[in-house]
């Protein structure tokens, strides 16, 4: 399936047209083999198998594949066995088998699913290197490309970086095909489009764009395609390569593209009208456009009950703020404005600081840097040791530094709270952006006190306001005329009242997909339930009577439509797939 699509990208088609004559498959098998062997010289992982087919062994065939990339069983059983043994049986009836051996092999010889003819030898070579097998027949100017990809695979595992308490445990893997399958399993909608191209002159990495055709903002989609096409790099080894090519502002500290390992998150984003960029060889899928608000969310927010989710979201926003300003505010207040805090506390802080030889600024920088080092060391060291070293190291250093009189105990507390706050952010890259900016804030408030702190915050805010991700303001929906989306920003209102897709992300006339029963079914309502949202929506549509609570909960995201249903009794009709567009 994907194999056919894979050859569609323009770039790949242009190439052969340049050197057409040279590239075409020759009719002589020996010539072709020689050409391939020449090109793939010293590539010892390529296997050539020549064999003969037919009762009198009159047809010369060759099978070529890259060892390790293919499913051997499949090739042996469905290609070699079929061609060599079964055609011999068929040959008992000689009237049929005469004629074009090539098309017979294609039509009835090979018992595999994906087979394609290919005229250009270089193109077939690329598919050979991506894991397909080639069958060459002497005397025919075409190659049979057999989809036989099958390499050792990590298998679907729980994502390491985005753990949830409640929610699906499957995560993306390094194989793009299984990643798209994970998406397709969640969105069984013909509108889920998965467009593949290849990026990277040498790596020829498969990159797929996934989007919901009738929800996505076409301008965003066009822009993504344009930017992807403009990438001209030798190799794409991780989606980060692509990210750095497609992001809007390269000199910003904030990530403007979201990356995730969670298929449920991607599915939910697609339903909001965003575009996913799936890259082969990495479990990290890119999502655009991304806003700060989205980056601070976790997919679990939609699985927990709304009250809990809202609390956690507020907590997360608060911790983003704390991780940015706490040490800076501590420095500003202790060094410049001790009058702002209660006198007892100010005196106590001053007391703990007696004997500390450094100014608060040095103290803070020292501790923050130590913390960053511990964090980095903790990541590099193997799992269990890393954790232990992180915690123990932190404790020992904190405790020892205080006892040695180098750091005041309150500073240790401040730094520890800051660290906890910054690790509680859902996105690692946003967390690290805030951590870096924290140093900037520390410097500013050490120089200019509270005024510096406020100016620093203002500068960061100006920067955030000036950022855009694929035409969407980075701070949406806090800015722009999208205030109703605030229900899914600082807090998360119940799924049942989120009638509309976010206007900032979804495109054009498809904003209110959730209002009707059918829309509920195709859009899966809040959709974040993953698999069952679709069927749930349909059920809600046809049951329709319970549009208030109870049963309506499933289809109930059409709430405003639900009101209509009561009068039109259109639940059943709208529930049908007929009214999609």
């Amino acid at each position: 399936m994907g194999l056919l699509e894979r050859f569609r990208p323009k770039k790949q088609e242009k190439e052969p047209s340049k050197e057409e004559a040279k590239d075409k498959v020759s009719s002589s098998l020996d010539k072709n083999l020689k050409y391939l062997k020449d090109k793939l010289k010293d590539c010892d992982d390529v296997v050539y198998r020549e064999f003969r087919v037919g009762s009198r062994q009159q047809f010369r065939f060759a099978l070529i594949y890259v060892d390790g990339l293919i499913d051997r069983n499949m090739i042996y059983e469905e290609v070699l066995k079929s061609l060599m043994l079964q055609t011999r049986h068929a040959n008992l009836n000689p009237g049929i088998i005469t004629g074009d051996v090539f098309s017979i092999a294609l039509r009835s010889g090979l018992t595999t699913g994906e087979v394609k003819e290919e005229e250009y030898i270089d193109k077939s070579m690329i598919s050979l290197l991506s894991g397909d097998s080639l069958v060459l027949v002497d005397g025919y100017k075409k190659v049979l490309v057999i989809g036989s990809k099958g390499w050792p695979n990590r298998g679907v595992q729980e994502p390491q970086t985005e753990a949830v308490i409640r929610g699906p445990r499957d995560g993306f893997t390094e194989t793009m095909r299984s990643n798209t399958a994970l998406l397709r399993r969640r969105l069984r909608d013909p509108n889920l489009k998965i467009k593949q191209t290849k990026v990277g002159v040498r790596s020829k990495t498969d990159v797929a764009l996934a989007y919901m055709d009738n929800i996505v903002d076409k301008n965003v989609l066009k822009e993504v395609e344009k930017r992807l096409e403009s990438i001209n790099i030798d190799g794409v080894l991780e989606s980060g390569y692509i990210e750095s090519f497609i992001e809007d502002e390269k000199y910003s500290i904030f990530p403007q593209v979201q990356s995730t390992e969670r298929p449920d998150k991607v599915a939910a984003s697609l339903l909001e009208g965003r575009v996913a960029i799936i890259t082969d060889n990495t479990p990290f899928v890119l999502l655009v456009p991304a806003t700060l608000n989205i980056l601070l969310q976790s997919s679990e927010d939609y699985y927990e009950r709304w009250f809990i989710a809202s609390f956690i979201r507020i907590l997360r926003y608060a911790s983003a703020f704390v991780s940015l300003v706490l040490p800076a505010a501590y420095i500003a207040i202790t060094s410049y404005h001790p009058g702002l805090i209660p006198t007892d506390l100010a005196l106590y802080i001053a007391g703990t600081r007696t004997g500390v030889p450094f100014p608060a600024f040095i103290e803070a920088i020292l501790m923050e840097l130590t913390l960053e080092l511990l964090r980095e060391a903790g990541i590099r060291l193997p799992g269990p040791i890393g954790q232990t070293i992180g915690i123990v190291g932190g404790l020992v250093i904190g405790q020892a530094a205080v006892q040695a009189g180098l750091v005041s105990p309150i500073m240790v507390i401040v730094v520890a709270i800051t660290a906890i706050a910054s690790f509680s952010l859902a996105s690692y890259s946003v967390g690290i952006a805030f951590r870096i900016l924290r140093f900037f804030m520390i410097v500013l408030s050490a120089v200019l006190g509270l005024y510096g702190l406020v100016m620093g915050l203002l500068m960061i805010l100006v920067h955030l306001c000036s950022l855009k991700s694929f035409g969407v303001p980075y701070l949406a929906p806090l800015v722009g005329n999208t205030y109703y989306e605030l229900g899914d920003a600082l807090v998360r209102v119940p799924q049942t009242v989120m009638y509309r897709r976010p206007k900032t992300l979804a495109g054009g006339n498809m904003i209110r997909m959730r209002t009707g029963g059918a829309k509920g079914a195709s859009g899966g309502g809040g959709g974040r339930d993953g698999d069952d949202a679709g069927s749930g929506g349909t059920k809600g549509g046809s049951v329709k009577a319970g549009d208030g609570n109870g049963k309506g909960k499933a289809g109930g995201r059409r709430v405003s439509g639900g009101r209509d249903n009561g009068q039109k009794s259109g639940g059943q009709k709208e529930g049908g797939p007929g009214t999609h567009e």
Binding site: L448, G452, L458, S466, G480
Partner: protein
């Protein structure tokens, strides 16, 4: 610059609100009580109404010349050379305003937050911060306005609540005893507090729907009026008419007397100051942005960002000219009388009247009617 992103009417509202409110509030209670005694808060309302009327004129004027800022259409209305002189005057007005803002801000910051930091350092950092925003496009200014409105409305109102027990409303009596003539001349003294709305002359063409400008301006100015009235009423009722005239910045004095019971923050005024930095920053930056926009349009530049930094140095030197706060306010009074009133009240109204007399809006309307006829 024409293909840049537009602002929504809410963003215009936010820009105007944050721009106007920053600077005027500082001296307002003192100025109005000097002019009209306990009836000062009525003066605030009267000034607000005048500002609303003028801003409606301005928005009508802007609608006559769609897609053009005052720099372009003043040339159409009062011949090209006069138009350029007008625009340059407007530019000088904004530059001077920025200089005053920066200086006053530095003085306040010095007094309340950083008593040992040199004024120059505060002015420079403030201006550099402004340059950063002035180099962006109008949409960014709009977004930041939107973000900042709640940031400083909510806390300043919340912190006013504990001041209620300190208030004595009898300080506002006697009511309506100011002689009408004194009251009318008093309106002139408070215009400084409403300066900023005339930036609509520049911002209207950047709106996605310029028709909404009048409505947005009215809402913004009413909000400003309410906040000002609240500030005056609270300051006068706490300190009384006599005492208030001895305070340079009465609103800060209000926050100084407040004690929040049982709160972690002992002294509210520090936090209020922090919010104040935000407000002043916004005012200064919008004026700065306006100055940069005017200059780039007079010189017909395609990019406006690179003017910002040199302009900041000019403002920096201008800001350091006065020797002390008293002198700053002396200059400021002259400034608001000879530049503020003309450029924000008289000249826009005059432009509007001249354009009307010359039948410019009509021309366009007729033209459009013709077009629609042809189209039909």
């Amino acid at each position: 610059m024409n293909d840049q992103e537009k602002i929504t009417s809410n963003q215009l509202m936010a820009i105007m609100f944050t721009t106007i409110i920053g600077f005027g509030l500082l001296t307002l209670p003192r100025a109005v009580t000097e002019a009209a005694g306990p009836d000062g808060w009525l003066l605030v309302l009267a000034g607000g109404v005048v500002a609303i009327i003028i801003s409606i004129f301005i928005s009508r004027l802007g609608l006559m010349f769609p897609g053009k800022t005052v720099v372009e259409y003043s040339g159409d209305v009062i011949t090209k050379p006069l138009g350029i002189i007008f625009s340059l005057g407007f530019f000088i007005y904004y530059v001077l305003f920025c200089a005053f803002e920066a200086r006053v801000f530095a003085e306040i910051t010095k007094q309340f937050l950083l008593d040992r930091t040199p004024t120059e350092a505060i002015i420079i950092t403030m201006l550099l911060g402004s340059v950063y925003l002035a180099r962006q496009d109008i949409a960014t200014v709009g977004r930041i306005g939107e973000m900042l409105v709640p940031v400083f409305i909510l806390p300043s109102l919340l912190f006013l609540l504990p001041a209620i027990p300190e208030m004595d409303l009898t300080n506002l009596l006697p009511f309506m005893r100011t002689p009408p003539v004194r009251f009318l001349t008093g309106i002139g003294t408070i215009v400084i507090s409403y300066l900023g709305f005339e930036a609509l002359l520049l911002f209207q063409p950047f709106m996605a729907r310029p028709r909404d400008a009048a409505k947005a301006m009215t809402v913004a100015l009413i909000a400003v009026m309410l906040i000002y009235t609240l500030a005056v009423v609270s300051a006068v009722s706490i300190f009384g008419v006599v005492e208030i005239q001895r305070l340079i910045w009465p609103p800060f004095a209000v926050y100084r007397v407040i004690k929040i019971p049982g709160a972690f923050i002992e002294n509210v005024h520090g936090v209020v100051m922090a919010i104040w930095v935000v407000a002043i920053y916004m005012t200064l930056t919008v004026f700065f942005f306006a100055a940069v926009t005017i200059l780039s349009r007079v010189l017909s530049l395609r990019e406006h960002s690179f003017i910002a930094l040199p302009l900041a140095f000019l403002i920096y030197f201008l800001a350091l000219i006065p020797d002390n706060v008293v002198q700053v306010y002396g200059y400021l009074d002259a400034f608001s009388l000879y530049l503020g009133v003309p450029f924000s009240f008289v000249l826009p109204a005059a432009l509007f009247i001249i354009a009307k007399v010359r039948g410019m809006g009509k021309e366009r309307r007729n033209g459009r009617e013709k077009q629609t006829k042809n189209g039909g």
